[in-house]
């Protein structure tokens, strides 16, 4: 790709980008949120038409008028925003657009069979091809997206932040597949904000900044982290977790969770959070962490147990009650649960704090904008334009909008589900600092993240959840990532033993 | 005047005055009745007076189908009547031509079919037809205008029609135009409403803007006429004479009071279906019409469309329908 330019109304998303990818290599694409990575690969996939520049395929100039042309040439893409059809089955999604059919009549059993093979190859034989995609978790959907890309037998496979919703186990599986593909001569373009992943599988890398290539063809393994961060952000960022500076006051718990359960999701979860304390919940995808904190928030009804804030018991299954008591939730899925996509950035940020910016129900827009802008700057939302429609922001910046909403609302208890999903290294450090500041100001925080190091680094105390049970609770500096995994695997084995016994009986 | 019209309303007092042997109770007659949706006063009165008529005879069992403007549904109503093996069907079709086939089917099944108001397209589809005279209505209104104009060919004539896509509206308009032509007048402005008060008001508002000066205004339907009058009042216009249509009690009272632009109306009887019920009973019981020398009930009864003015309003007011 040479000199690619892509202009959106008001933004020059790509401003002359060069990228060369060879067969049989894993080429990593790095850059801050909004640097233009997703836009670049959408151009390559034929989803956007280019304003300037050329794409060369085996030396020949080629143009992809629509996604079909790109697919036919041999470019398969896993998009950042999951692009699946909720109402269709797993197999139908995998083969959408290139269904196995004879004379227009679908061959469902063939498709199911091939889908099963592809899913098995990705290490997920447990996903049934006939299951409706809408009922899968985010991780499950990501697997289906990957199976779709594999189903094309493509020469180039583009992966836009495929690991964001995966846990370490699954990332290992993904890398296994990537290695196989590389060995068979397929070129891979890999986008991620996790530098350690790039170290593990990347061959070469290209860094984008503000729609321009700032460095290309760097060796992935040798380039130092400091250099990369410098290239991406134009400054140095210390990526250490900000540690507690003051002693945790010995106050009464602000949030008390007492034995809450939900059938088939999680069982008998109890813990307490004191003001100023950060409690992390670690576990693998599907362990039920999101369900736990959504239940605390009242977005789901607990079948048993109670949640107490400042000594007052919250009404079960009522978000209003939780919000009134000063609880906030930054939800897991930014698009479906977090954002009003067609509304402006500042209005999304102020959504949970409207009372603060109104008198007698009449909004005071100036104050609202000012406050929204302030938090937007503090989490570094780019571009710095509060009136932009959220839909046109890059994925990472959308995530920051959701976070900003809860930073703006002064909560007593803040529940954060995957707060840094898809956020670049620079902004991530800033968010860590913000979280720490919140805690220091006396807010009680609960953090869920698939990044175990992040959970351990941020929190004062950590809960490890496996299969809906709390299997460990303790200070976070007394355990490390492998310790967490060990505890999870130990329960897995137990479970299997129990199940095995059951079968035998 | 009658307000609920259920059993002994004056809607039916104008009919059935002749007391002969025909009214004596006879063999039980099951009659199916179907008409378009009673979405305005005239049509409402049609059904009400038919029901009231049937109640007068203890030998009639009337099955009333849901009023509908959907020919497909009306066809299936007749089919249901055929399945039920009724003795007679009194049918006011939404569209006469479209109901012809199924009416024939009923006749073929040995059921006496009485066609009311909107004519079938085949003589074999009904034993007897009771018709209002839509064309004649237009002619009556046009002739009245001609009489009033007294040969002045420069008079401005406006027309507010009913639902424009119905054949009956076409007939009325044609009659009106034909009659006007005879005295050298023509319709200068024409709009169509939908037989409802609201549509009458809308159509008239626009019409009054389009025609700054009018001499005669014929409005096809007294139901929508309430709205037309309201619009005239809103526009503060009174330079013309308005003629109504159908002959509702309201309008007749207005004519009698003589304090609006409304000076006349052309009657379109709303008792047609009631006549149909009576005839159906006679036919099934094998009787004849007592006032005729004829042995058989006639094949067609065409009702006249007289003009009601202040002078003769008292004759018609008692039989007028409340809309």
């Amino acid at each position: 790709m040479r000199g690619i330019v892509k202009q959106f109304p008001g933004v020059r998303a790509l401003d002359g980008v060069d990228l060369t990818v060879r067969a049989g290599e894993v080429h990593c694409l790095l850059g801050q949120n909004g640097a233009g990575k997703s836009t670049l690969i959408k151009v390559l996939a034929g989803a956007h038409d280019v304003d300037e520049g050329t794409i060369l395929w085996e030396g020949e100039p080629i143009s992809f008028a629509d996604p079909l042309a790109a697919i036919a040439t041999g470019v398969a893409t896993i998009y950042q925003e999951l692009d699946l059809i909720d109402g269709l089955s797993v197999a139908d999604n995998i083969f959408l657009g290139h269904e196995l059919a004879r004379g227009g009549i679908t061959r469902d059993s063939d498709m199911n069979k091939r889908a099963r093979q592809l899913l098995a190859r990705l290490g997920h034989p447990e996903i049934r091809p006939t299951r409706e995609v809408g009922s899968l978790s985010a991780a499950g959907k990501q697997i289906v997206s990957m199976a779709r890309a594999l189903s094309h037998d493509a020469r180039v496979i583009v992966m836009d932040e495929p690991s964001a919703v995966l846990d370490p186990d699954e990332v290992d599986g993904l890398f296994q597949v990537v290695d196989d593909l590389r060995a068979s001569g397929t070129a891979i373009i890999y986008i991620s904000h996790r530098l350690e992943e790039i170290r593990r599988i990347g061959d070469r890398l290209t860094v984008l900044k503000d729609g321009r290539t700032v460095a290309t063809d760097l060796p992935a393994k040798e380039t130092s982290t400091a250099d990369l961060v410098q290239l991406m952000t134009g400054r140095t960022v210390s990526s250490v977790f900000p540690r507690r500076t003051t002693e945790l006051p010995d106050a009464a718990p602000l949030l008390t969770v007492d034995g809450i359960s939900r059938d088939r999701e999680f069982h008998d979860v109890s813990f307490a959070v004191r003001p100023g304390e950060i409690v992390g919940i670690a576990g693998l995808v599907g362990a039920g962490r999101s369900e736990i904190i959504e239940t605390i928030y009242g977005a789901r009804r607990a079948t048993r147990g109670s949640v107490t804030v400042e000594g007052k018991r919250l009404r079960n299954g009522s978000v209003d009650a939780a919000v009134a008591a000063g609880v906030g939730l930054c939800p897991e899925e930014r698009k479906s649960q977090g954002l009003v996509l067609d509304d402006a950035v500042y209005r999304n940020i102020s959504l949970a704090s409207l009372e603060r910016f109104s008198r007698y129900g009449i909004t005071t827009e100036a104050a609202e904008r000012r406050a929204a802008r302030q938090v937007a700057t503090s989490v570094d939302i780019r571009p710095d334009a509060p009136d932009r429609i959220v839909r046109t922001l890059s994925g990472g910046n959308q995530q920051k909008v959701v976070l900003a909403r809860w930073l703006l609302r002064s909560c007593k208890v803040l529940l954060l589900d995957e707060p840094t999903r898809g956020v670049d290294v620079g902004a991530r450090a800033e968010i860590y600092t913000l979280i720490r500041e919140l805690a220091d100001s006396g807010v009680a925080l609960v953090i869920v993240s698939s990044d175990i190091d992040e959970v351990l680094g941020l929190s004062d105390r950590v809960l490890v959840v496996a299969d809906g049970h709390v299997v460990h609770e303790g200070p976070s500096d007394a355990i490390d990532a492998s310790g967490v995994l060990d505890r999870i695997l130990a329960t897995h084995d137990d479970q299997q033993m129990i199940q095995g016994d059951g079968d035998a009986a | 005047a009658c307000t609920n019209g259920s059993d002994d309303g004056d809607t039916s007092s104008a009919i059935g005055k002749s007391n002969t042997d025909n009214d004596k109770s006879g063999k039980k007659v099951v009659i199916g009745f179907s008409a378009p949706a009673a979405d305005h006063g005239w049509m409402g009165s049609i059904t009400k007076s038919a029901v009231a008529q049937a109640k007068k005879y203890d030998d009639i069992e009337l099955k009333v189908a849901e009023g509908t403007n959907d020919v497909n549904l009306q066809i299936s109503q007749v089919e249901t009547f055929i399945n039920d093996k009724v003795d007679a069907i009194v049918l006011l079709p939404f569209d006469g031509a479209a109901m012809t086939a199924v009416a024939r089917k009923a006749m073929d099944a040995g059921i006496v079919v009485i066609n009311v108001d909107r004519e079938f397209d085949s003589p074999f589809a009904a034993r007897t037809t009771v018709l209002g005279d839509n064309y004649g209505m237009g002619v009556s209104a046009g002739t009245y205008v001609c009489d009033q104009a007294k040969g002045d060919k420069n008079k401005v004539v406006a027309e507010i029609a009913g639902i424009d896509s119905l054949p009956l509206t076409q007939d009325r308009s044609k009659g009106f135009a034909d009659a006007l032509k005879k005295c050298g007048l023509k319709v200068n402005n024409r709009v169509a409403a939908e037989f409802t008060v609201e549509s009458g008001e809308k159509a008239a508002s626009n019409l009054l803007q389009a025609a700054p000066k009018i001499d005669y205004l014929w409005n096809h339907d007294d139901d929508q006429g309430v709205g037309v009058l309201a619009a005239i009042k809103n526009a503060n216009r009174d330079e013309f004479v308005m003629i109504g249509g159908a002959g509702s009690a309201n309008v007749m009272r207005d004519i009698k009071a003589d304090n609006t632009v409304l000076k006349a109306t052309v009657i379109y009887p709303s008792t047609q279906a009631a006549d149909g019920i009576k005839l159906a009973r006679l036919l099934v019981q094998g009787k004849s019409m007592s006032d005729l020398a004829e042995i058989e009930v006639p094949r067609e009864v065409k009702l006249s469309a007289p003009v009601v003015t202040k002078d003769n309003v008292d004759t018609y007011l008692p039989s007028a329908f409340e809309s």
Partner: protein
């Protein structure tokens, strides 16, 4: 074409505005419902029921005793009550708006017919007719009411937390819920508001026609939805504009007026209307695209 003079005459402009008032007021309520992610097919039927309820012999004789405000209040109350029922069935019964309001359409019009016994109920109260028929400074009262509703609607949608929540509820109900908005209760408010506008429109139509009737407002729902959508409000919710709706209403009403001034037959009017609507929307999109 008719000379521009006649079309632009003050009288004609007033006529157009008067014609636009009834559908206009209902369209403002519809703008809220659609922006909030719903749809209301029952507006015409609710209008009919309100007008009938407010003009029964009972209500009218109460009005004789206590003043015509009784009629106005009953229209507004009935409208709001129907809207409330819609809202409750939709928000708490979780029936899709299309079906719930279609059911209300059938029921409300049926009830109106039963109450009115299919007769047109004429308003005898002189005070009512005089008040709403008046034209202070040459502007009819109902046009003034329409203007007030438009201004109020604009303010409510764009300058209040209620409006903000409406956008959020329509744009992404799940996100709104998780942001602490009482989505169900808000939905009920939206339909009640639409019901209220039907009540207001019923009063206006009662004054225009001096009647209450179960045939009032037939197919009003289509006109209102069309005006709202032409005005640029997204049928899928989350985006809505009161000013756009105002334009939508005026375009439709003006079109009919121009056609009548030109003595066009209803059929040709319909053909022309269809074509003009599509061309208008296409042009509007062109212009909108050029701007951004």
């Amino acid at each position: 074409m008719t000379s521009g003079d006649q079309f632009a005459s003050k009288d004609n402009v007033i006529t157009i505005l008067r014609l636009a008032s009834v559908v206009g007021v209902v369209s403002i309520g519809m703008t809220f419902v659609i922006t909030g992610g719903g749809i209301d097919l029952s507006v015409g039927a609710i209008l009919a029921l309100s007008s009938v309820w407010a003009t029964t012999t009972g209500t009218q004789s109460m009005a004789d005793d206590y003043g015509w405000i009784v009629m106005v209040l009953s229209a507004l109350l009935v409208g709001t009550a129907c809207g409330l029922i819609n809202g409750i069935v939709i928000a708490y019964g979780k029936v899709v708006p299309f079906i719930a309001t279609l059911a209300m359409l059938a029921s409300a019009r049926g009830l109106a017919e039963i109450i009115a016994d299919r007769k047109t109920q004429i308003i005898r109260n002189q005070g009512f007719t005089d008040f709403f028929g008046a034209e202070p400074l040459g502007i009819p009262v109902i046009v003034i009411m329409f203007a007030l509703v438009v201004v109020g609607g604009w303010f409510l949608l764009n300058r209040t937390t209620f409006g903000r929540r409406t956008f959020a509820v329509g744009g992404n109900p799940e996100a709104a819920r998780l942001a602490g908005i009482k989505v169900q209760r808000h939905t009920v408010y939206l339909y009640a508001l639409a019901g209220l506008t039907c009540g207001i429109a019923a009063v206006m139509l009662m004054s225009r026609t001096t009647t209450g009737s179960s045939t009032h407002g037939t197919l009003l729902e289509l006109d209102a939805i069309a005006a709202v959508v032409i005005g640029g409000t997204l049928l899928s919710g989350g985006r809505g504009t009161v000013v756009g709706t105002l334009f939508g209403v005026l375009i439709f009403t003006t079109l009919t007026n121009v056609f009548t001034l030109n003595n066009l037959s209803t059929s040709s009017q319909n053909v022309a209307k269809g074509v003009i609507i599509v061309v208008a929307v296409l042009l509007q999109q062109r212009i909108a695209n050029r701007k951004t």
